[in-house]
């Protein structure tokens, strides 16, 4: 991906007015809900510290906890598979589905499965795959991509959802969210009755007990783990926590950070498949451990990013995400977390994403496990620059050359002051001359009436 691609995508994102308005409204609401929920939580700051410690501790001893998890899960009847990369994970899941003659797969929302492109492979193998989270269901019907890791259709309004459901299901047109939800419910209920394979991600995996934890709201996740005869859980290896007693620290934070709820509607703990005598539940539980770049990240300077619990709070808090939407990132994970994860997981094709940030630090403030995302972004920018030494340095050299000549700097300021014209609201949408390159991706603040130098010389100097 070239720099101009990124610029074009950012510009396209900001031009889609309906999308921008929808995303603004939704993200601001989520930020307010998150703030209120955390303000009402006793020991919120200490809980964040503790959660960060737990996650850092796990990463420091990941092989030990992974080994413990595998032993415990296996002892309780789960079959654990190990996938070094996306291809291996897809092959493992496809093969086990084909060997058992499974036909209809239901999926709960899983960003990890988006990461490995699972649906297409299963469909090539002859399975029907149905996304059952309401947002993901709409995304699948539209052949679209999720634009938020928690709210996949944050970029769509109710009319677009209505049009999709009418086109795909032939239902009556309505714009009422309750009716639209009921239409999807009725359609998916029949599928839940007939499905034979359930595929989910995992929010946390408890090493002590071999337990998988799913945090959901709609109930589709519970359907996926209790209706089909085979449940496959795709587990990013970094999602482990040491003990059951550590789980509530993270539970107290994840839903608050994500949606402002003290706890989601359903927190499901899965410890092995259906047991003898159980009236329902999957006969087989398969856990697919996915590395796909995680061990490489763990070995490098950016390992703190693996503390992430995928709550989406940094997306909601980010002024760039809010204005360009998730699709502009062109990666599985959008927003601040995506700007760090995408280059690390997928390499050079996303190397310029760390530039899509103003480094304002809102993501760090929002992160329930206190990942210093801005610091990671700066480090990734430096790595990217080190690989492409020439071009960006021309600008820096020119700047340094001007800065060494105060008369030239003053002249430049004066010229710019004359040339930059705002659009009436204090911002210039299109800068003069070469500045148009800069304003292609950002708005330029109108220069203040007096420069800081003038202010200093005339007033502030004496107040020292």
């Amino acid at each position: 991906m070239t720099a101009s691609d990124l610029r074009a995508r950012l510009a396209a994102g900001t031009r889609a007015a309906r999308v921008v308005a929808a995303v603004h409204q939704a993200t601001w609401r989520k930020v307010a809900q998150r703030d209120a929920a955390l303000a009402a939580l006793p020991h919120a700051a200490a809980l964040r510290d503790r959660a960060a410690e737990i996650r850092a501790h796990v990463l420091a001893r990941l092989p030990d906890y992974l080994e413990q998890f595998v032993a415990q899960a296996t002892a309780r009847g789960a079959q654990v598979h190990c996938a070094p990369d996306a291809e291996a994970a897809v092959r493992i899941i496809t093969e086990l589905a084909v060997r058992r003659g499974l036909r209809l797969a239901v999926k709960a929302k899983s960003m990890t499965s988006e990461e490995i492109g699972l649906n297409a492979a299963l469909e090539r193998a002859g399975l029907r795959v149905v996304e059952t989270d309401l947002g993901e269901f709409i995304v699948q019907l539209d052949r679209d991509r999720p634009s938020h890791i928690i709210a996949p259709i944050i970029h769509k309004d109710r009319r677009q959802v209505a049009e999709t459901l009418v086109r795909a299901l032939g239902c009556r047109y309505t714009e009422d969210p309750t009716e639209l939800t009921q239409i999807a419910r009725r359609h998916l209920r029949d599928i839940f009755r007939r499905c034979d394979l359930g595929i989910t991600g995992v929010n946390f995996a408890v090493a002590e007990t071999g337990t998988l934890v799913l945090c959901t709201n709609e109930g589709n996740g519970r359907m996926c783990v209790s209706r089909p005869r085979v449940h496959v859980a795709l587990l990013g290896i970094e999602k482990l926590i040491p003990r059951l007693a550590d789980l509530p620290v993270l539970l107290k934070l994840i839903a608050r950070a994500s949606t402002g709820q003290p706890l989601g509607a359903y927190t499901t703990l899965i410890t092995g498949p259906r047991r003898p005598g159980d009236p329902d539940g999957p006969e087989e539980l398969h856990v697919v451990l996915l590395d796909h770049g995680r061990s490489r990240i763990l070995a490098g300077p950016h390992r703190d990013i693996l503390r992430c619990i995928r709550c989406g709070a940094c997306l909601n808090a980010c002024p760039v995400y809010r204005n360009v939407g998730g699709h502009a990132y062109a990666s599985v994970y959008p927003g601040p977390i995506g700007s760090v994860l995408a280059p690390l997981l997928d390499g050079p094709s996303h190397a310029d994403l760390p530039r899509a940030s103003s480094l304002c630090g809102a993501c760090l403030d929002a992160c329930p496990v206190k990942i210093d995302i801005p610091q990671r972004l700066v480090a990734l920018r430096a790595e990217h620059r080190a690989r492409r030494p020439r071009a960006p340095r021309v600008g820096v050299r020119l700047w340094a050359w001007v800065m060494r000549r105060p008369w030239l700097y003053r002249l430049g300021q004066r010229v710019l002051r004359q040339m930059v014209r705002d659009d009436g609201d204090g911002f210039a949408r299109r800068g003069p001359g070469w500045l148009a390159l800069w304003t292609a991706g950002r708005d330029l603040r109108r220069p203040p009436a007096r420069s800081f130098r003038a202010l200093w010389n005339e007033e502030l100097r004496d107040e020292r």
């Binding site: 420091a60 309401l134 259709i153 359903y266 009236p279 590395d291 061990s295 490098g300």
Partner: protein, 273 residues
């Protein structure tokens, strides 16, 4: 690899992954790549060469007990905290004193307009087999149809509401806990459009931290444990809250008990999980 005879040798792929992680593991300070921030919790250098044993007790980095951060004090009125939190989450809470649980449940089912009602008793103090028999008789007398262990078609299309007992409840978040087992199906608290869960106030734990710190929980985990907090919900369409997506849209919690101050500071607690 681990020589523990009870652990079968992991497949080659897992062994490879563990070896790769051990080589990359930042558990030792020397594992840091150049330029990385110094790790606050370094380990002595000798740990680097020898494979470290998987010892879950080695938790120097993180406190073993998080209950210092509990939100609900031990002496709190757990019934009051539960009621407030559950109501905020969209659960409808009923307090039934003495034997009033029966008329309360009947009134709830009447209001829901439920005709075919799934009853699922279990070995907890919340809803025993004897309770289910009493309720079934009352429902039949009222012209309703009580069902036990319905088949799949009936569960999906022919049940208006389910009545079951909880395994535990958590005051902090207003959460009701159901556990899978020979008597309790995963589908009961999930598939019917309305759910009535009976709670013995003595089952209410104060804080999430207290619930998960109970050593009895880790050793007795069922295959499927559900913490249910309010009705099934989504806000996927324009952030508008809609209840009753795939799980029940109407969830009622009926606290039964013998009057007095159940669940108060001195109330006995019977941890089921």
């Amino acid at each position: 690899m681990n020589a523990d005879p009870q652990t079968p040798a992991p497949p080659a792929a897992l062994a490879t992954l563990l070896a790769r992680l051990r080589a990359a593991s930042p558990g030792d300070a020397g594992g840091d790549a150049p330029g990385a921030a110094p790790r606050p919790r370094g380990q002595p250098a000798e740990a680097r060469s020898a494979p470290r044993p998987a010892d879950p007790r080695d938790r120097r980095a993180v406190p073993a007990d998080h209950r210092d951060l509990r939100a609900v004090p031990l002496d709190a009125d757990r019934v009051a905290v539960f009621t407030a939190a559950a109501t905020a989450a969209g659960l409808i809470v009923h307090h039934a004193r003495g034997t009033a649980w029966l008329p309360t449940v009947l009134a709830v089912l009447e209001k829901l307009g439920a005709r075919r009602i799934l009853l699922e008793p279990a070995d907890t103090t919340a809803f025993r087999a004897a309770d289910a028999e009493v309720l079934a008789a009352a429902l039949r007398a009222a012209g309703r149809e009580p069902l036990v262990r319905p088949d799949d078609d009936t569960l999906f299309e022919g049940v208006d509401a389910a009545v079951a007992g909880v395994a535990a409840a958590i005051a902090e978040t207003g959460t009701l806990v159901t556990a899978s087992g020979p008597q309790t199906a995963r589908g009961t608290s999930l598939v019917p459009p309305a759910l009535v869960l009976l709670v013995d106030p003595a089952q209410i734990v104060g804080d999430l931290l207290d619930y998960f710190a109970d050593p009895g929980l880790a050793t007795a985990l069922p295959a499927n444990l559900n913490l249910i907090t309010g009705p099934s919900k989504t806000a996927d369409i324009e952030g508008v809250l809609v209840t009753g997506v795939h799980g029940p849209g109407h969830v009622h919690g009926v606290l039964r008990g013998g009057g007095g101050e159940p669940g108060g500071p001195n109330a006995p607690r019977t941890p089921v999980f």
